[in-house]
C-alpha cells in the first residue's frame, strides 16, 4: 500500500536558491578586512594579533573591526552596516 507523506523541512539543507558564497580571493592585497569578535575568552586579543600579522604580511586596503555587544546574538545593525559597507573579506571565529 503506497504512502503519501509531507516534507518536514523548511527547505533543502545546505542549499540556497538566493545566496551564493562570494569567490575566495586569491590574495588579501588591497582587500578591506572585516573582523567580527564575539567576545568570548581572549578572542579580541587573538584577532588583534591576527590583524597585526596580516598587516605585516600584506598590503590590506583597510580594516573594519566589529566587537559584538553580546556573545550569542548577531552584531548590532550599525555594526552590520559598517561590516557590509566597509569590508570586502571577513574573518570571524566560532565558539561557545
Amino acid at each position: 500500500m503506497s504512502i503519501v507523506a509531507l516534507d518536514p523541512t523548511s527547505g533543502p539543507i545546505g542549499e540556497s536558491t538566493d545566496r551564493r558564497l562570494a569567490p575566495r580571493p586569491v590574495s588579501l592585497a588591497g582587500e578591506r578586512l572585516g573582523v567580527v569578535v564575539n567576545g568570548l575568552g581572549y578572542c579580541e586579543r587573538f584577532f588583534d594579533a591576527l590583524i597585526e600579522e596580516l598587516l605585516d604580511q600584506t598590503e590590506l586596503g583597510g580594516v573594519v573591526k566589529v566587537v559584538k555587544s553580546s556573545v550569542s546574538v548577531p552584531p548590532d545593525p550599525g555594526d552590520w552596516s559598517r561590516l557590509t559597507e566597509g569590508a570586502t573579506v571577513a574573518i570571524t571565529g566560532f565558539g561557545g
Binding site: V4, P8, F94
Partner: protein, 339 residues
C-alpha cells in the same frame, strides 16, 4: 489546506529509507506524516496550518503550525500531545529562547521541557520514577518533536548550522513533568504567573546537567549548601543579551525533597537561601559566581522517584527559561496515569 511538499512511496519501508536518505531523522525511525494525520494534529490545537509559531530571523526561517505538526507526527506523538508541542515550540522560539545560538553552539546545548498542570495526568507525562529517561511515550515523543523541528525546520543539522563538538543524548528528547503532588510546594507554572488549573510548558536551554548528589546531609540547609557548591564548581557563561533574566533549574528528587517538606520550607524560602550564596564573588577556579538577577530566577522542580539522594542541576546555555500555556480546542482526557 496544507502547504508542505508531498511525495509518495510504495510502502513504509521505502518511506523510512528515503527519510534517512533525505536527512529527515535524528537517526531513529520516524512515522510518515500523512496529510490526514497532520490535519488531525492541527485540529487538537485549533490551528490553521499557516499559523506562525515563531521564527529564527538569523536563519530566515519561520516555523508554522504545519511544520510543527508534521514533525510531531514523525516523532511518534499522539494527536492529543500536539498542543504541548505547540507550547514548547513557541517557548523555544521566543527571542530569549535564543534558538539560533542554543542550537548552533559548539557546546551542543539541549532543551529541557518541563510540563505543569493537569495535562500531565491526561497525557501520561511522567514526573515520578524514571521520568528523565526512556519508557514514557509522551515524554519521549513530545521532547523529540521539538528536536525534530529544530533539526528539520530551524536547520540545525550537524555539520551545517549545528556545530556541536560532541552533542549529547539529551538532544534526542528531554521532557518531563513536575511532580506537583509530591508536597505542598507551589508548582513552577504558578510561580511563573499561571493558574494551578492551567497547563504549561517551560523550555530551558541546557548546557550542562550535573547531579548534586548528597546522601550525607540530614537537613535542608545541608542539601542546599551541597547544591550551591556543585553549581559554583562548574560555573557558567552569561550573556549581556539576557540581561538579568538568566535562569537555573534544579530538579529535586524525593530524598532531598523530604527534608524541605519536614522542615516546612517553601520554594520561595529556598530561592532566598540559594541566591546570595550563588551570587557570592568568585573565590577560585572551582568556586565561581553564578550570577542570577533575582532569587525568582532559580527554578525549583520536584520530580523523580525514591532512592537516590540527588538534585539535578540544569545549567543554561545563553537563553532564559520561557513558559508558555498549553492551548487546546477540546479537553480530551486520555485516562492515562503518569506513574
Amino acid at each position: 489546506m496544507l502547504h508542505a511538499p508531498r511525495d509518495e512511496w510504495p510502502d513504509p519501508d521505502a518511506f523510512l529509507e528515503d527519510a534517512y536518505e533525505r536527512g529527515w531523522t535524528d537517526g531513529l525511525p520516524v512515522v510518515p506524516a500523512t496529510p490526514e494525520k497532520v490535519e488531525a494534529f492541527l485540529a487538537t490545537a485549533g490551528l490553521d496550518p499557516e499559523t506562525v509559531l515563531g521564527a529564527v530571523p538569523t536563519r530566515e526561517v519561520t516555523v508554522t503550525a504545519e511544520h510543527a505538526a508534521i514533525n510531531a507526527v514523525m516523532a511518534g506523538c499522539r494527536p492529543e500531545y500536539f498542543p504541548v508541542v505547540v507550547a514548547a515550540v513557541r517557548a523555544h522560539l521566543d527571542e530569549f529562547g535564543n534558538c539560533h545560538s542554543t542550537t548552533g553552539t559548539l557546546s551542543g546545548a539541549a532543551q529541557a521541557l518541563i510540563v505543569n498542570g493537569p495535562i500531565r495526568q491526561e497525557l501520561g507525562i511522567a514526573s515520578g520514577m524514571g521520568c528523565l529517561g526512556p519508557g514514557f511515550r509522551a515524554n519521549a515523543t513530545i521532547g523529540r518533536a521539538l528536536r525534530l523541528v529544530i533539526r528539520n525546520v530551524c536547520r540545525s543539522v550537524p555539520g551545517f548550522l549545528d556545530r556541536a563538538t560532541f552533542s549529547w543524548p539529551l538532544r534526542y528528547s528531554f521532557c518531563f513533568g513536575e511532580d506537583e503532588e509530591a508536597g505542598d510546594w507551589v508548582p513552577l507554572h504558578v510561580q511563573r504567573g499561571y493558574e494551578p488549573e492551567q497547563s504549561t510548558v517551560t523550555v530551558q536551554s541546557v548546557m550542562r546537567m550535573v547531579s548534586a548528589w548528597d546522601s550525607t546531609s540530614r537537613d535542608a540547609t545541608g542539601v542546599l549548601d551541597s547544591i550551591v557548591a556543585e553549581t559554583r564548581y562548574h560555573g557558567f557563561n552569561g550573556d549581556e543579551f539576557l540581561g538579568d533574566g538568566t535562569n537555573i533549574v534544579y530538579i529535586m528528587g524525593r530524598e532531598h525533597q523530604r527534608f524541605f517538606f519536614e522542615e516546612g520550607w517553601s520554594k520561595a524560602q529556598m530561592q532566598e537561601y540559594l541566591w546570595p550564596r550563588l551570587d557570592a564573588e568568585t573565590a577560585g577556579l572551582h568556586d565561581r559566581r553564578f550570577k542570577l538577577g533575582h532569587p525568582e530566577n532559580i527554578l525549583l522542580v520536584a520530580a523523580g522517584g525514591a532512592g537516590m539522594a540527588e538534585t539535578w542541576i540544569l545549567s543554561p546555555h545563553l537563553a532564559r527559561a520561557i513558559t508558555r500555556p498549553v492551548e487546546r480546542v477540546a479537553h480530551t482526557p486520555s485516562g492515562r496515569s503518569a506513574h
